[in-house]
C-alpha cells in the first residue's frame, strides 16, 4: 500500500512554471495539494497563500511561561530557605531578572520547536514523494479521483512540468 491517496505527482525544474501550475490548480478549485521544494521559496509561499504560521503563539506562550517560572522559582526558593547575603532583601527581584530572562529564552525555544513539530504533524497530508524534491526539483502532488486525473495531468504538462506521474 502506498500510504497516500491516488493522484498526480508532477516535478518542475522552473519556478515560474510551478507557480503557474499552483495558480491554475487554485482556479480549478483545488486546495488540498502538496508542494515540495528543496528550500523555502517566498514566491511559492505567496502563490500557495498560507496564513501566518501559528508557531509564533507557541513562542510567546513558552517565553512568558519562562519569565513567570524564573521569578516564581527564585522567589519561592528564596522564601523557603532565607539566605541573607550582601545586605540584599531575601527576595531580590533585580538579580532574579537574569533567571527570568534565561528561562524565557529556554522555554521559548523549546516551545517553538514543540509548536513546529506539532503543526508540521497536524497539517501533514499523505502525499506521494520523490527524492529529487529535496535536491533540485519542485514537486506538486494533487490528490484526485480517477475521473479528474487526466485534466490535472494536462494542466501540469501545459504549465511546464518536466515529469508527470499518475500515483495510484
Amino acid at each position: 500500500m502506498s500510504g497516500h491517496p491516488g493522484g498526480i505527482l508532477a516535478a518542475f525544474k522552473h519556478i515560474d512554471a510551478a507557480i503557474k501550475a499552483i495558480h491554475d490548480l487554485k482556479d480549478m478549485g483545488y486546495r488540498d495539494f502538496t508542494v515540495f521544494s528543496p528550500t523555502p521559496l517566498l514566491e511559492l509561499e505567496e502563490a500557495i497563500g498560507h496564513k501566518v504560521s501559528p508557531v509564533r503563539r507557541w513562542t510567546l506562550i513558552g517565553a512568558l511561561t519562562g519569565v513567570a517560572s524564573g521569578f516564581a522559582m527564585t522567589l519561592w526558593m528564596s522564601a523557603d530557605w532565607p539566605l541573607a547575603v550582601g545586605g540584599k532583601p531575601i527576595g531580590s527581584t533585580i538579580p532574579y531578572v537574569v533567571f527570568a530572562f534565561e528561562l524565557m529564552v529556554l522555554f521559548g525555544a523549546i516551545a517553538t520547536l514543540t509548536g513546529l513539530a506539532f503543526h508540521s504533524w497536524r497539517n501533514a497530508k499523505p502525499a506521494a514523494f520523490d527524492g529529487r524534491f529535496t535536491d533540485d526539483m519542485i514537486g506538486i502532488f494533487v490528490p484526485c479521483v480517477e475521473d479528474r486525473r487526466d485534466a490535472v495531468k494536462d494542466l501540469m504538462e501545459t504549465t511546464g512540468a518536466e515529469e508527470v506521474r499518475v500515483e495510484a
Binding site: 508542494v35 515540495f36 526558593m77 523557603d80 530572562f101 525555544a109 509548536g115 513546529l116 529535496t134 533540485d136
Partner: protein
C-alpha cells in the same frame, strides 16, 4: 600573499551541484583524517589521565596558591565560552539582518558554538574539585532543605551556560534537518539509515516550510539576546566583586566584544583547513574571509578600546589599589602575559586595515592563531594577575599552572576538535538549504529567451 578567487568561483552552482558537492565531503575519511584523529585522541587521553589524577589526589595537584584560587581552569572556561559566541552571532544575528554571506559559513560557526560550550561546561566542574558533587550547582529538592544562592553571579552562570548549550544545540539541529533530508536521498548503507532517522520525516512540503521558516526566525530572535546575555553574565562573575581590576561597569560589553572577537578568530582557524580539505573554494570564497576579517577588525578595536579605557579609569579613579593592580599587570611578575595579550589582540589585528591582508587566507590564518593565543592570555591576565595582587601585601602570591592544568587545557582542545572532526565527516558543514536559498532557481521564461 594575496589570494585571488579561483576561476570556478565565477560560475554559479546549481541546486544539484550544491547537494552533490556538500554530500561529497561526507564519509570515506582519508588517511590524514585518521592520523589527525588518532593524535587528537592521544592528547585527549593525556587530559583524561591528568583529570583522573586530580580526582584521585585532589585539587592540591593544581597550581593554586593563595590568594589565586581561580586559575587556568576558570581562564579556560571563559576562553571556551567566548569562542562559542561568534557562532551564534553568525547564525542568529546575521540571519536577522538578512546577511546573505553568512549562508556558506554559518554551519561551521554553529557547530563550533555547540562544541565550544560543551567544552566550556566541563571546566567549572573540573574547577570545583569534587566533580561528583557538581549537581549541587543546580537547585534541586534535597533532604537538607536548602537552595542555591540566586543572588550570586556564579549561579547566574549555571543557568546562562546551560541555557546556551541547550538552545544552541537545538538551533544547530533545526538547521540540519532539511540538509539531512537532502543527503538522505543520496546516501547508502548505514548512513542512509542514520540520515533517514535524523531527518525526522522531513520532505520539504509547503506546510513544513511554512512552520519551519517561522520557527527558525523566532529561534534566531531568542538566540540573539541570549548570546549577549551569556558573556555579560560571565563578566559579572568578576565585575560584581571588589577585586581591583575586576570591579568595572565596562566588563559586560568588553567581554561580549572579546567573546565575538575570539570566536571569529576560531571560525577562521577552523574554516581555512576545512575549506581546503573539503575543496569548498566554490562556496566559501575569499569574500567570506574578508567579511569575517572585517568583523574581526571591528570587535578587535572594541576590545583594544576597552584595554585602554581600563588603564585610563585606573589612573583617573585616583584609587591607589586600582592603579597598583594595573601597574602590576604591565610591569609586574606577569608582564609577559599582559604584553602578549596587548600585542596579539590590540596591535596585530590593525593589519586588517589593509585589504591585501584581509584577502590573504594564509595571513588571516596566522593572525587568527595569534588572536586565539591573545584571548586566552586576556582571560589569564584578568583572572590570575588581578587575584595575585589585591590589597594586602602579605596576602599577595604568585600562581603558576601545574602540569595537570596544562594537560587538561590541552585535553580540552582535543575534546573540542574530536567533536568537530566527527561532525565534519558525518553531517554537512556547509548548509545545503541556505546556500540554495541565495541561488535563483531557473525560470522557463529565461530558458526560452
Amino acid at each position: 600573499m594575496a589570494t585571488t578567487a579561483p576561476p570556478e568561483q565565477s560560475t554559479r552552482p546549481t541546486y544539484a551541484d550544491v547537494t552533490r558537492d556538500v554530500f561529497g565531503t561526507l564519509g570515506n575519511p582519508s588517511k590524514t583524517y585518521y592520523i589527525l584523529f588518532g593524535f587528537i585522541l592521544s592528547v585527549l587521553a593525556l587530559g583524561l589521565i591528568a583529570l583522573l589524577y586530580q580526582i584521585r589526589y585532589g585539587l592540591g595537584v593544581a597550581g593554586y596558591t593563595p590568594p589565586v584560587m581561580w586559575g587556568a581552569y576558570i581562564t579556560t572556561f571563559v576562553f571556551w565560552v567566548g569562542i562559542a559566541h561568534s557562532g551564534t552571532l553568525i547564525s542568529a544575528i546575521l540571519f536577522l539582518f538578512r546577511s546573505a554571506w553568512r549562508t556558506a559559513v554559518y554551519r561551521t560557526a554553529e557547530a563550533m558554538t555547540v562544541f565550544a560550550v560543551l567544552t566550556a561546561g566541563l571546566f567549572p566542574l573540573i574547577h570545583v574539585g569534587r566533580i561528583w558533587y557538581a549537581y549541587w550547582l543546580f537547585p534541586y529538592p534535597n533532604q537538607r532543605m536548602l537552595w542555591v544562592n540566586f543572588k550570586s553571579p556564579l549561579v547566574f552562570d549555571v543557568f546562562a551556560v546551560s541555557t546556551y548549550l541547550i538552545v544552541s544545540t537545538l538551533f544547530l539541529i533545526v538547521g540540519l534537518i532539511p540538509d539531512i533530508a537532502a543527503i538522505r536521498e543520496k546516501a547508502t548503507g548505514w548512513r542512509k539509515k542514520l540520515y533517514t532517522v535524523t531527518a525526522l520525516g522531513w520532505r520539504g512540503t509547503d506546510q513544513q516550510w511554512r512552520h519551519y521558516s517561522k520557527a527558525y526566525l523566532y529561534m534566531a530572535a531568542l538566540a540573539t539576546p541570549l548570546v549577549l546575555s551569556v558573556h555579560s553574565v560571565v563578566s559579572w562573575d568578576f565585575a560584581v566583586s571588589i577585586v581591583p581590576g575586576w570591579h568595572a561597569t565596562i566588563f559586560a560589553p568588553y567581554f561580549v566584544a572579546g567573546a565575538i572577537y575570539s570566536g571569529v578568530a576560531m571560525v577562521i582557524t577552523l574554516m581555512v583547513p576545512l575549506r581546503k580539505a573539503f575543496k569548498m573554494e566554490r562556496y566559501i570564497t575569499v569574500d567570506h574571509f574578508e567579511n569575517l576579517s572585517k568583523l574581526l577588525l571591528l570587535t578587535g578595536m572594541i576590545v583594544f578600546y576597552a584595554y585602554v579605557i581600563e588603564y585610563f579609569m585606573a589612573w583617573y579613579s585616583g584609587n591607589p589599589f586600582e592603579q597598583q593592580s594595573f601597574w602590576n599587570r604591565a610591569f609586574g611578575d606577569y608582564w609577559w602575559a599582559t604584553w602578549t595579550m596587548i600585542v596579539c589582540n590590540g596591535f596585530l589585528p590593525l593589519f586588517l586595515f589593509f585589504k591585501k591582508i584581509r584577502r590573504s587566507i594564509p595571513a588571516l590564518f596566522v593572525l587568527s592563531l595569534f588572536v586565539n593565543l591573545g584571548m586566552w592570555f586576556e582571560r589569564f591576565v584578568i583572572i590570575v594577575v588581578s587575584l595575585s595582587f589585591e590589597y594586602v601585601p602579605y596576602a599577595m602570591g604568585h600562581y603558576t599552572p601545574s602540569w595537570v592544568e596544562f594537560s587538561i587545557l590541552a585535553g580540552s582542545f582535543a575534546w573540542f576538535f574530536m567533536w568537530f572532526l566527527l561532525f565534519a565527516k558525518n553531517f554537512p558543514m556547509v548548509s545545503i538549504t541556505e546556500v540554495k536559498e541565495i541561488i535563483p532557481l531557473p525560470r522557463k521564461q529565461e530558458a526560452h529567451r
